[in-house]
């Protein structure tokens, strides 16, 4: 098919922050994930673990615990506030000071009527959940020492509270402490150190299970307050506990990165009546502390300092192998953080705290496949733009001409004019933005840079006209459906006529920008779109969903195209459907209108619509085979999906035109450690001449940013996690073990890149 030049960029220095808390809503099958930087992510477990919403973090916010009450999400943190989130506007609805010092934990009773929080000052505070807010009800008996963990008895009449060196059981109606369970300290040197009961669960048979800083998992009888069994599971801390819905299994997470399962079973086959808690399985999927756990119906979900979310399926719950029975690691956001200005050859990197603008390097050499070309010009960092205010950046955009730059936080949108002459770059903030433009979920410039589209609340889109002198509010595009969900994808056509938006309700609206009105609604599909793009010449909208289905919809004809119908009729290859990361970008090869480029975290794919679709018996990943075949034999083996796994790609820019690549230097995906990454990206410009296939793709740019773990930063970041604890004036909580995982990593294998981002850009019009 041809050769491409790939710009491999490794300077995208993005690092997700550690996972601090999680809460699973079994009713909606949504998992809420809280990170150290105060951001909250919502994963839809019913839709292939798709990360459908991200609430950006804030400097002053800290999340120590998360809690669902029905469909409402609450968090509490060491800043002493309880926060409820508005999942439609993706911002905190309100924050409430609890007046009890730092809050260590928050939990709701099974009825969803009350919230209990554990405070530094030793109080357990009960809040009543009202329609629109929560209201303080009363304190339970105040204790000496902080309340670290809480668990309601399913009946709602008792609460178990994990404290320092003990567990207290409260009677909720009276507020009295009815039991006092003393927890032993550790052996040897840790004898003098208080034991922190990091987590408790209160089962319906009044069994209390606790995990503590001495490495013990203990089973107590809540009626009598007696210790039933002690399991010493680690030298370090047992940090997290989670019980399954039927209370037959408990999982614990340790500082060693292990997750250990306990099951309530009979020890021998004969005595089926006498069940006890038995340690059964140990999973090691983390390199650092496991800070958050959830046991869901078919899997154990864990997260921690190494920043990755691991979904470990319980294989006994599956009858046959499928995508759901595979171990899933979610390492990076399911959205783009790299944007490419295709005409100017610029890259924009979005970090929570800043934006970075880079100019790509150049090379005029030619080389054989597999070669690295000599650089004529090195890449250059043009701009480092720090955000203003406490709120983290939630979206950003770069116009394709490189003249405009915009970003939005929860509280404001900022627009900048960029001017580059030769090597100088000047940036000026555009003053007086229209008042209506206060925040945006997505930002997007039209291809001629004359308009800025900002996704606003209730799936509406603000259209702002840009000119040298001023920027003016033009119109608000509103969907007919009246959906209140936020827009998470937005794309426009090259001819400037069409704008497509997708929201979390899986609705895709197509607007006619020239007429400023809704053009059509794409039939709603059950899975959330993860990427979409409008073809530059045919104006067909290509959508890829979280469940890996691909649709092509003709905007002009308002119907699915023939190719899309054919694809749906024949069905996608199982290997395609079983991939575990969603496609995060769709773009098109400007030189060959029949080629669509897709990528996810691990691969590129070029779909050539002129070639036959692969059926289930076809060899799906066939690039190696094709390479070994002669030119005559090749055509008979070609199929539409050309997949290249060379570069681990996970992000790309806002570009049309797209190509796959093949791997050269081996970033090993088996490396289980993603937390810190060097950014890595590249662009490819297909070589000209020389090769007879080349002309197909000349002028396309391909940008890949790969993530390489940076060990030094890993340890730093895990120590900063400790810092968060010390901040809470808790002398005993501060002495954490000195990050043992860091040393494990130190002797671990050499380099690896966890993943990569890719962006492609059409440089057609930019060719000098």
């Amino acid at each position: 098919m041809g050769e491409f030049k790939v710009h491999r960029v490794r300077f995208f220095d993005y690092m997700p922050t550690a996972i601090r808390a999680m809460a699973f809503n079994a009713h909606t099958e949504r998992l809420a994930l809280g990170r150290m930087d105060g951001s909250v992510e919502i994963f839809n477990f019913a839709d292939r673990y798709f990360q459908e919403k991200v609430i950006p973090g804030k400097d002053s916010r800290s999340i120590e615990a998360l809690c669902w009450v029905g469909g409402r999400l609450f968090s509490a943190g060491l800043n002493g506030e309880i926060t409820e989130y508005d999942l439609e506007t993706l911002r905190p609805k309100y924050s409430l000071e609890a007046y009890g010092g730092p809050i260590w934990t928050i939990t709701s009773n099974s009825q969803g009527a009350h919230l209990a929080i554990g405070c530094e000052d030793g109080t357990v505070k009960l809040f009543e959940v009202l329609e629109e807010s929560i209201q303080f009800e009363r304190n339970l008996d105040r204790q000496k020492g902080r309340i670290i963990s809480l668990s309601w008895h399913p009946s709602g009449t008792q609460i178990a509270a994990g404290m320092m060196d003990m567990i207290r059981v409260f009677d909720v109606p009276t507020g009295r402490a009815v039991q006092r369970l003393l927890v032993d300290r550790g052996f040897g040197g840790s004898k003098s150190r208080e034991t922190v009961v990091w987590s408790v669960v209160f089962l319906s048979d009044c069994t209390i299970i606790s995990g503590d800083s001495a490495g013990k998992v203990q089973v107590w009888d809540g009626h009598t307050g007696t210790l039933v069994k002690t399991h010493l599971v680690t030298k370090w801390d047992v940090l997290a506990l989670s019980v399954s819905k039927d209370e037959s299994s408990v999982v614990v997470g340790t500082s060693e990165g292990t997750v250990i399962q306990f099951q309530f079973i009979a020890p021998t086959l004969q005595q089926q009546q006498d069940k006890e808690w038995v340690r059964t399985r140990t999973f090691k999927n983390h390199t650092h502390d496991v800070r958050a756990l959830a046991e869901i119906e078919t899997a154990i979900v864990s997260g921690g300092m190494d920043t990755q979310l691991v979904v470990r399926p319980l294989l006994e719950k599956f009858d046959e192998r499928s995508h759901a029975s595979a171990l899933r690691k979610i390492q990076f956001p399911h959205r783009n953080l790299v944007f490419c200005a295709k005409k100017a050859g610029l890259l924009l990197f979005q970090f929570p705290g800043q934006l970075e603008l880079w100019r790509l390097g150049e090379s005029d050499g030619h080389g054989k496949p597999g070669d690295s070309l000599p650089l004529k010009r090195k890449p250059e960092k043009l701009l480092h733009l720090k955000r203003k205010g406490e709120d983290h950046i939630c979206c950003s955009a770069l116009s394709s001409c490189g003249g405009w730059l915009a970003y939005s936080t929860m509280s404001s949108v900022r627009l900048y004019r960029l001017q580059t002459d030769n090597n100088d770059i000047s940036i000026s903030k555009v003053p007086k933005l229209p008042k209506i433009l206060r925040s945006a979920h997505q930002l997007c410039f039209s291809s001629d840079s004359s308009k800025l589209f900002a996704a606003s609340s209730q799936s509406s889109v603000l259209v702002i006209a840009l000119s040298q002198s001023e920027c003016k509010y033009v119109h608000t595009l509103k969907p007919k459906s009246g959906s209140r969900q936020p827009i998470h994808l937005m794309t426009n056509s090259v001819d400037g006529k069409w704008l497509a938006t997708a929201n979390s309700d899986c609705e895709i609206h197509v607007y006619n920008v020239q007429k400023l009105k809704l053009h059509c609604i794409v039939p709603v599909y059950g899975s959330c779109p993860s990427a979409m793009g409008i073809h530059p010449t045919t104006n067909n909208l290509t959508m890829v969903h979280a469940d890996q289905q691909i649709f092509e919809y003709s905007i002009v004809e308002k119907q699915y195209t023939d190719w899309s119908r054919k694809l749906q009729k024949q069905g996608l290859h199982n290997l395609w459907l079983d991939r575990d990361t969603p496609v995060t970008h769709v773009t098109f090869n400007p030189k060959n209108p029949e080629q669509i480029l897709l990528h996810d975290m691990h691969m590129f794919c070029i779909i050539d619509q002129s070639l036959p679709l692969p059926d289930q018996k076809t060899q799906f990943y066939n690039q190696m085979t094709l390479r070994s075949l002669s030119e005559q034999e090749r055509p008979s083996h070609l199929h539409a999906f050309k997949i290249c796994k060379t570069f681990q790609v996970c992000f790309n820019g806002d570009v049309p035109g797209y190509l796959p690549c093949s791997t050269s230097s081996g970033p090993s995906r088996s490396q289980p450690f993603p937390p810190n990454h060097r950014g890595l990206g590249w662009t490819s410009q297909s070589s000209t001449g020389q090769h007879k296939h080349t002309s197909l793709i000349t002028g396309a740019y391909l940008v890949v940013a790969a993530l390489t773990p940076d060990r030094r930063r890993c340890s730093r970041y895990s120590s900063s996690a400790c810092g968060a604890h010390t901040l809470s004036q808790s002398g005993s909580r501060a002495p954490r073990r000195p990050a043992p995982a860091a040393s494990e990593v130190g002797v671990g294998s050499g380099h690896s890149s966890g993943a990569a981002w890719i962006g492609t850009a059409d440089l057609d019009t930019h060719s000098p």
Partner: protein
């Protein structure tokens, strides 16, 4: 085999103003073999009669003129030739008194050297590389002289060689660090240029020396790093090759240069196997680089050395068995002699009166006598200098021959035997010492065995001390039938005899000096040593070095193991904090820690045991004999081994450099051997319980150490593996191909 004889001063030297210039330009031969023509660096040429050390004549140029080339003797015309002020050639006869009145001719170009050789005509080498016969030059002095060398090329050294009626002029040049060799043939004239291989350091050769051998010209040159290279140019080599050829070289000798590089040094080939080097350090002397040494290039051995007092100027000439070395304020003449190297002479069997035998290069103590001795030395010099006084005394008495002494041994009283043996051994002229010592020892042992009353400890000790009973030739081990003879047959009897008579001093000597004592004898010694009461052995005088070593070791323990007030933790403590050694009550009432501090055997006994530890042995042969020891002996020996092991492993005792002291490895090996031989016995013996558990903790600590080292190794290997990741750059543009 080579010898440097006592030298003498030919003449004093004028101190030159500049430090680098030598006072002597050159020394040439006269028609008379005992004459030397010495040209000094300024204006004078002196003719010396070497053996008389007196000048026969002297010629000087006028004030303001300068001799620029050493005077040479024209063997055909019996005239002397010298060049003054580069261009003026002067020719005179011995009768001429005034050089100014002699024949003069001014040539048109600067002369580098005039060379003469017996049987050849005089040759003039110009500074620009041209060569003329003196006769033809003098017939037309102003003839134009062509320049052969390029502009920056300067001559460094030149010589001429006459071979098979072919006359060669060799000269080396230097041009920007490159060195070239020119070989100019006369009649017909051809010039061949060779390039010398560059030395790695880029240094220039310090000296050249050319000699003719087997129709080849051998060029020997010395570099400051001590390498002596040889290059060979064929006399009838391929003539007419154009251009510069590389000159292949071979390393003949690598001199030990000590610290730094050689400054002013010079090497001259004496014959095919020997090289005289002046201005190098002596390998066994620490002071300065002012030795004249003769090296054997075949065996790479130092044959003779002599210290040259005063500054060496890196000049040496060699004529007719004499080396001329200017040093300090004198020009010394040192006669030398080189013998053909042979295995026999290396063994010392060949008689070479007045020549140091190869043993001198082997036995360490003899170096000093060899170096500082003035006269050529015989093998007796090897004997420890302490005995020299004794020797001189005995020399005055009428000396008996070997056979006479043998007869005497058969019947004579102990005291007389001792005296005569001593006299015989000390006598310088006993060249056949090897054989005679062997025979004497045989005779003495035989008589002692027959006649129990007769035992001559002094005489035997004296014989053993000659070290002739066990001849050790390091590089000729296979060729020592004599050595095998004595070590295999003589020594067991001698050593056993000494044991029998409780002559511990002799035992120690034998253990120290005999290279291969059978394991059965070693074991017998061990058994005797362990069994002997401490009181008996304390009275015996033993070799002082080993005694003082042992004293130091015991004293270190007596200090209470404290160093700077810090008491290092005991072995058991460092090994395992929970392990408390609990020796059986009946074994020793003392505190276990105290027990470890105290040496379980007496001082002299310990010295003897140390000798056993250091005796070479082979495991398989030794273990069966070790079984002869009984349990208390084994336990005592193990305790002793444990004691010195602890002494060694505690850092309290910092080992002083002693020639002979058991190494840690030897101690451990012996512990292993003992355990191998007696394990079942030891397990059963209640006395050994504490000992065994202590030993087990040694092993544990070793295992622990090695496992820790293994871990470190693993980590380091991981680090090693991590390196390749660095080559991935932050940014690259790569080409991929898709199908």
């Amino acid at each position: 085999m080579a010898t440097l004889f006592e030298g003498f001063t030919l003449c004093g030297l004028v101190q030159t103003s500049s430090a680098s210039d030598s006072a002597i330009q050159g020394i040439e031969l006269d028609g008379d073999s005992d004459h030397a023509v010495v040209t000094d660096s300024t204006r004078a040429v002196t003719l010396y009669k070497v053996s008389d050390q007196k000048p026969l004549g002297s010629w000087t140029v006028k004030q303001g003129q300068l001799l620029t080339c050493p005077a040479v003797f024209n063997f055909q015309t019996k005239e002397y030739v010298v060049v003054s002020d580069n261009k003026v050639i002067r020719v005179w006869k011995e009768e001429d008194l005034n050089l100014d009145k002699a024949f003069k001719a001014t040539v048109s170009a600067d002369v580098w050297r005039v060379h003469s050789a017996p049987g050849g005509e005089l040759v003039v080498l110009f500074q620009r590389g041209a060569v003329r016969l003196l006769d033809s030059l003098l017939s037309a002095p102003q003839q134009p002289i062509e320049g052969i060398l390029s502009e920056k090329e300067v001559i460094r050294w030149s010589t001429n060689i006459v071979a098979e009626k072919q006359h060669f002029v060799l000269f080396t040049t230097e041009q920007r660090g490159e060195h070239f060799l020119y070989v100019q043939r006369l009649n017909p004239n051809t010039l061949q240029k060779y390039r010398l291989e560059r030395e790695d350091s880029g240094a220039s050769p310090l000296s050249f020396s050319a000699s003719l051998r087997d129709k080849h010209i051998n060029l020997l040159y010395l570099y400051p790093n001590g390498c002596v290279y040889q290059s060979v140019v064929a006399v009838r080599g391929p003539v007419g090759l154009e251009g510069v050829q590389a000159l292949p070289r071979s390393l003949r000798l690598r001199l030990p240069v000590g610290e730094g590089e050689l400054g002013a040094a010079s090497a001259v080939a004496l014959d095919e196997a020997h090289v005289a080097v002046v201005g190098m350090p002596h390998p066994s002397a620490r002071t300065g680089k002012d030795f004249l040494c003769i090296w054997n290039t075949n065996f790479q051995t130092l044959q003779a050395g002599k210290e040259m007092v005063g500054r060496i100027r890196g000049q040496v000439w060699c004529y007719l068995g004499k080396l001329f070395v200017p040093h300090g304020k004198a020009l010394s003449v040192i006669p030398y002699e080189c013998q053909k190297s042979s295995l026999a002479s290396a063994l010392g069997k060949l008689r070479h009166p007045g020549i140091a035998v190869s043993k001198s290069s082997v036995a360490i103590p003899s170096w000093n006598t060899l170096l500082h001795g003035d006269q050529p030395q015989g093998p007796t010099k090897i004997v420890d200098t302490r005995k020299s006084k004794l020797r001189r005394k005995s020399q005055s008495a009428p000396a008996l021959t070997v056979d006479q002494v043998l007869e005497l041994i058969k019947t004579g009283p102990v005291e007389e035997v001792r005296r005569e043996v001593e006299a015989l051994v000390s006598r310088g002229d006993a060249q056949d010492l090897q054989l005679s010592v062997g025979r004497l020892a045989c005779q003495l042992v035989a008589r002692s065995q027959v006649e129990t009353a007769f035992y001559a400890p002094g005489a035997l000790a004296r014989l053993v001390q000659t070290q002739c009973l066990c001849h050790r030739v390091p590089f000729l081990r296979w060729a020592g039938p004599l050595g095998f003879f004595f070590s295999k047959i003589m020594c067991p009897d001698l050593l056993l005899l000494a044991l029998e008579h409780k002559d511990y001093f002799l035992c120690q000597l034998c253990l120290q000096l005999f290279p291969d004592i059978p394991e059965v004898v070693t074991c017998a010694c061990l058994k005797t040593f362990i069994g002997v009461p401490d009181g008996d052995v304390e009275m015996v005088s033993l070799e002082p070095d080993s005694v003082s070593f042992m004293e130091g070791l015991v004293a270190a323990g007596a200090r209470g193991g404290q160093q700077n007030g810090f008491s290092p933790p005991l072995f058991e403590d460092s090994c395992d904090p929970h392990h408390q050694p609990k020796p059986p009550q009946h074994q020793d009432k003392k505190n276990p820690t105290l027990q470890l501090e105290v040496c379980p055997v007496g001082l002299h006994k310990a010295v003897l045991l140390n000798e056993v530890l250091q005796t070479p042995y082979s495991d398989n042969l030794l273990v069966p004999h070790l079984k002869d020891l009984n349990a208390p002996q084994v336990i005592l020996f193990l305790q002793y081994l444990q004691f010195i092991y602890l002494k060694y492993s505690q850092d309290v005792y910092t080992q002083t450099p002693v020639l002979r002291s058991p190494t840690m490895t030897q101690i451990i090996d012996w512990v292993c051997l003992l355990l191998d031989a007696h394990f079942t016995v030891l397990v059963m013996a209640p006395d050994a319980k504490g000992l065994l558990s202590n030993l087990q903790s040694f092993v544990k600590s070793q295992v622990k150490l090695f496992s820790e080292l293994g871990k470190i190794e693993g980590s380091l290997q991981e680090l090693h593996k991590m390196k390749p990741s660095k080559d991935i750059s932050q940014y690259s543009i790569e080409v991929i191909e898709l199908f």
